[in-house]
């Protein structure tokens, strides 16, 4: 009797949970869509953070600003060239920027204490933002309309831009390609070994500088793709546009387990969706604070994140 009752209750509650879940999805579809879209864009930035941290143990604070710069480069290029030229050129220039930043700001500090490199990253971020401010004259720039992906579409009653739908599959394809690169190519192997043990890899004759440059190149390339998707949705570029997405992407990387690429991607999607649902619930003041609260929780209770490896310091 008791069993039947519990089964019945269980069933009923299951049904009602399912129903309310469905209702929740229906009313919150716009938020979830926005969350998935922005999450995918965070993911592309987060990969840059997680790879650099995995190898250099450095929080590359300037990464979010590189992302913003990619937007500005595209804006200025689109003034003089057609989009099919300016988009690839944007990616190329952004990669060049990332490469240069590593050579100028991080390489000289490779043997310095870790905080020095981090301060250098902060300084670099400050420099990029101020340069952007100087060049743009402090006014926002309108991101060019990229045909097709800036078109409006309607799914299940929610209207959004095409880019929202394109982002998740594109992210998955890019990540799959990246994972394949890391798994099967020689440079990928070198990256893994450097991430595992920096000094030993150096002794084993791996060209550390090449590996690090490659990491920055991949990271900034993905960030430039991310910027194309992101600024298509949020079209105004100001010098501080990269700061918040950058920090959130970093949180995503920590959440997913720093050093883990799939972790960063999943973390980014979770953060994107949660953030938008929180706004949907009317807690808009706390949408940014939520990200940081999540970060602190993860750091304290799950320091290695969702997929990260545990590491113990040796005395």
């Amino acid at each position: 009797m008791k069993m039947v009752l519990t089964a019945f209750i269980g069933n009923a509650s299951f049904c009602s949970i399912f129903q309310s879940l469905a209702a929740f999805f229906k009313t919150n579809l716009p938020y979830i869509l926005a969350g998935i879209s922005v999450g995918g864009q965070y993911a592309l930035i987060a990969i840059g953070y997680t790879m650099v941290y995995g190898i250099l143990r450095l929080v590359n604070f300037a990464h979010g600003d590189v992302f913003m710069t990619a937007g500005l480069i595209c804006f200025y290029l689109s003034l003089v060239t057609p989009l099919y030229v300016s988009l690839p050129l944007t990616a190329a220039f952004t990669v060049l920027l990332g490469f240069t930043i590593e050579k100028v700001a991080y390489k000289p500090l490779r043997d310095a204490p870790r905080t020095s490199a981090m301060i250098s990253a902060l300084g670099m971020s400050y420099l990029i933002q101020n340069l952007a401010l100087y060049i743009t004259g402090g006014l926002s720039k309108q991101y060019p309309q990229i045909p097709f992906i800036s078109r409006s579409v309607t799914i299940a009653g929610a209207t959004t831009k095409m880019v929202t739908i394109i982002t998740p599959p594109l992210v998955i394809i890019l990540v799959a390609a990246l994972v394949a690169l890391i798994k099967y190519t020689k440079i990928g192997m070198a990256m893994r070994s450097v991430a595992d043990d920096f000094d030993t890899s150096r002794l084993m004759g791996i060209k550390i500088d090449k590996v690090i440059s490659m990491t920055f190149i991949i990271g900034t390339f993905l960030a430039s793709i991310g910027s194309m998707l992101y600024f298509t949705n949020y079209t105004a570029i100001v010098p501080t546009s990269g700061a918040m997405p950058g920090l959130k992407a970093f949180v995503a990387a920590v959440f997913g387990g720093i050093g883990s690429i799939p972790g960063a991607v999943i973390g980014a999607f979770i953060i994107g969706i949660c953030e938008n649902i929180i706004k949907g619930l009317g807690w808009t003041t706390f949408s940014d604070a939520f990200t940081f609260a999540l970060l602190i929780m993860v750091l304290i209770f799950m320091p290695s994140g969702l997929f990260g490896e545990k590491k113990t310091d040796k005395v």
Partner: protein
């Protein structure tokens, strides 16, 4: 030079400094740029020194300074806005909930204590984390604090996201100098005490410090709380200087700026922090302002000069210091009367600098 002589000279110099300030203020007027810069710089000096206490003397990399400044500034403002104008300030919240008015000095100290208390709570949670994670976590807490202070539900206390104003400021430049002077003295006495040695031990080698019986967590928490106390007082002073307080201005960018000033001065040098603060504020607010204005030499327009150029120049200088002069202006040295006296009189014994000891192997 014996101790007595040192103390006498110090006192004479301090009196001379204050007398000099008093006369300068009379001569150039309270509203002159010089006095304005001095006011702001001395407050920055305290804030940067409090960062240095953490970063330079305890090895704790925190990016949460702005959060503790916010606590200090708000506490000061909330408890000193006169009853008569509360209705105006708290226009959307029926004149606010707090109807206690404290004297200025008490409100400043209370601001420090509130910041210290929150540092205690936050430190409990984050101080187990290592360098860069600690930095990110403190940054996160500062951002959370900022969001909480802008929350409507607390509007009766914090005035929600709206500005707080109409509280007393200071007229004379002597006021911030006295307060900051007292705080800096306390900090200097602390870092030269047994506790300061314990902080430095942790900074240099946590494991060895533990083996010396120094409790890592307790000592770090102590340094964090003390630093935040001074950050809170600095925040209160900044409120007095600005005459308005608003949560949205205490961003992580502010913490970064202060940290970079500390780097310019030299991580691990209090006097370096002070000198760097004065240079930074003076250059930023005064000397380098001309970089933002288009200028002409005859009919030739100087290139590059326009709005925003000052900041570019600044960030380039900072990057040069970070990359090529990691020691900053002072390194870990302190600028002292004794040092100068000895240098002048040639009394200083030549100290051996890192003798390349034979058979050193590690």
């Amino acid at each position: 030079m014996d101790k007595k002589k040192q103390i006498i000279i110090s006192i004479v110099l301090i009196i001379a400094l204050f007398a000099g300030l008093w006369i300068t203020e009379r001569l150039v007027g309270t509203n002159s740029m010089l006095i304005v810069v001095l006011k702001k710089a001395v407050i920055y000096a305290l804030l940067v020194a409090s960062i240095n206490l953490l970063q330079g003397f305890s090895g704790l990399f925190s990016l949460g300074e702005a959060g503790f400044m916010l606590l200090g500034a708000y506490t000061y403002a909330i408890f000193t806005i006169p009853e008569a104008v509360k209705g105006n300030v708290y226009q959307y919240y029926n004149g606010g909930l707090i109807h206690v008015n404290l004297p200025v000095w008490l409100a400043l100290i209370l601001g420090g204590l509130v910041a210290a208390f929150f540092a205690f709570l936050i430190g409990f949670v984050v101080l187990k984390l290592k360098s860069d994670y600690l930095a990110i976590a403190t940054l996160g807490f500062a951002e959370i604090l900022r969001a909480v202070f802008q929350w409507d539900a607390l509007g009766g206390i914090t005035n929600g996201s709206n500005i707080l104003r109409s509280f007393p400021g200071f007229k004379s430049v002597l006021y911030p100098f006295v307060v900051v002077g007292l705080c800096m003295t306390a900090m200097m006495l602390l870092i030269n005490s047994s506790y300061g040695r314990a902080y430095k031990a942790i900074r240099d080698d946590e494991i060895a410090a533990e083996a010396m019986g120094i409790n890592l967590f307790k000592t770090k928490l102590q340094a964090f709380v003390i630093s935040s106390f001074f950050a809170g007082i600095g925040g209160g002073l900044l409120a007095m200087y600005q005459l308005t307080v608003k949560a949205s201005t205490f961003t992580s960018g502010l913490s970064d700026e202060l940290l970079l000033i500390a780097v310019i001065g030299g991580i691990g040098s209090m006097t370096g922090s002070v000198i760097a603060s004065f240079l930074y504020v003076a250059a930023n607010e005064w000397w380098l302002r001309f970089l933002d204005q288009p200028a002409f030499i005859g009919t030739f327009q100087v290139p590059l000069l326009r709005s925003g150029f000052r900041k570019v120049v600044f960030s380039v200088i900072i990057m040069v210091i970070v990359l090529f002069y990691q020691q900053g202006l002072m390194g870990t040295r302190e600028f002292s009367i004794v040092g100068i006296y000895e240098k002048l009189t040639g009394l200083k014994k030549k100290k051996k600098v890192k003798a390349s000891g034979g058979g050193t192997e590690k």
